[in-house]
């Protein structure tokens, strides 16, 4: 049989234009356009690019819902066996569009999808779990390797061949771990790794830790005496009764409470609902987690100008990193608007 291939590309690779044409609306063309020629060639008669969906990167990024719906409709009409998108290299908006359309088509049409990007493309973080992303260099100079990498993965998916580990197959890890029997026990392997590490030899962990972003430190507060300082906690300190039902673990929300009238946290007004530590001390005196009493003293002494009237709080146990980051962004926006100069965040 001949596989029906659909290819998604942007305005640039379709030869329509560069940035000035980035608002190009979704368009369907018969057969291959641009890099699709090489895709079809690599299938060696086993597959045919039946259509190419083209959309401007700006349009996809700014009108994502409409662009996705229109592109999906076009893809669907072609009854594809597989969708390829890109390669997007290190183009951020193109990577987003390729990842989004590949993930959506995979989900909606239940077909394999493959795209290709440079590992630092922002599309990787967003979509690596939802589609296959072949690893490419950072620019179109790597086209001659990128297309075969996509096609190799796509071919395996179409034929139902066993997919090996990401680092051997050349795609970005999808966060999937497969169980299998190893000839050596875990203890043996751990000791071997440790010995290699001690000898400063290369070794590969079997359980990679997530990579967190780092940011340059913010400039310091210039004059503490005129500074407004906000208090924030992930220690689960909430008004007694937890009025906003913040979860005791795996929090999906944070609370913001007016503490301008509160001098001291006591078991009568505040409590801890955190599910990840022994709350005995926090419930006897919440100040051991959120130090409001002494902050009020230092405020009265004029060490700094004032405590920000709103206190932000959530529970940081089992909380998804993405949620914690979102809380941080939303709290950050509010502090910025309020003109707060610095913050103290306590965690348990």
């Amino acid at each position: 049989m001949t596989y029906r291939i659909v290819h998604y590309i942007n305005q640039f690779y379709a030869g329509i234009g560069g940035e000035e044409k980035a608002d190009h609306r979704p368009e369907l063309r018969e057969g291959f356009v641009g890099p699709g020629m090489q895709i079809e060639k690599l299938f060696n008669g086993e597959g045919k690019v039946v259509g190419t969906v083209i959309c401007g990167d700006g349009y996809y990024g700014e009108h994502t819902e409409e662009a996705r719906a229109a592109c999906l409709e076009m893809i669907k009409s072609l009854k594809p066996d597989i969708l390829f998108a890109g390669p997007a290299f290190n183009a951020g908006r193109y990577g987003f569009a390729c990842g989004d359309i590949a993930a959506s088509a995979g989900e909606e049409l239940n077909i394999p999808t493959v795209t290709a990007m440079y590992p630092e493309n922002p599309g990787v973080e967003l979509y690596s779990k939802k589609t296959y992303i072949a690893i490419t260099s950072d620019s179109a100079r790597g086209m001659s390797k990128a297309v075969p990498a996509m096609v190799k993965i796509g071919g395996k998916l179409l034929k139902g061949e066993k997919m090996g580990p990401a680092r051997l197959e050349g795609y970005i890890h999808r966060g999937i771990r497969k169980s299998f029997f190893h000839e050596k026990s875990g203890a043996d392997r751990a000791v071997e790794m440790l010995l290699a590490k001690l000898r400063k030899e290369d070794f590969r962990t079997e359980y990679e830790m997530p990579v967190f972003n780092k940011i340059p430190p913010a400039a310091p507060v210039k004059d503490l005496k005129t500074a407004t300082i906000a208090l924030i906690s992930s220690g689960g300190i909430v008004p007694k009764g937890n009025p906003d039902h913040i979860r005791v673990s795996s929090a999906e929300s944070f609370g913001s409470y007016d503490i301008s009238e509160i001098k001291n946290m006591t078991p009568d007004n505040y409590e801890s609902i955190h599910g990840g530590y022994d709350r005995e001390w926090a419930n006897q005196d919440p100040d051991v987690v959120l130090p409001l009493d002494i902050m009020r003293e230092l405020e009265a002494e004029g060490v700094f100008a004032k405590i920000h009237p709103i206190f932000y709080t959530t529970t940081g146990t089992g909380t998804a990193v993405a949620n914690a980051e979102r809380f941080g962004q939303e709290i950050g926006e509010e502090l910025k608007k309020a003109g707060v100069d610095a913050a103290i965040l306590t965690s348990t």
Partner: protein, 78 residues
Amino acid sequence: MTREIERVAGIPVVQIATIVPIMLTVGTNRVVPGVAIPHPTGNPAMGPEGDKAVRRELLLRSFKAMTTPITEQTIFEK
């Protein structure tokens, strides 16, 4: 959370917590090591006065952290 507040608001955010390596891993820039996991900003075992003294010292250290220019992640020890 600390990192994103600092990034979005553009202000120094001092984190007081006990497990320093976690703070460094998640990208906290100004770290003040806390007393213990269940009571980072106090020490009930030291009685009410001792507890408050610990808290005051930690907060003064946090002020020092937020007013100190730094170029990389920094732990502000006693």
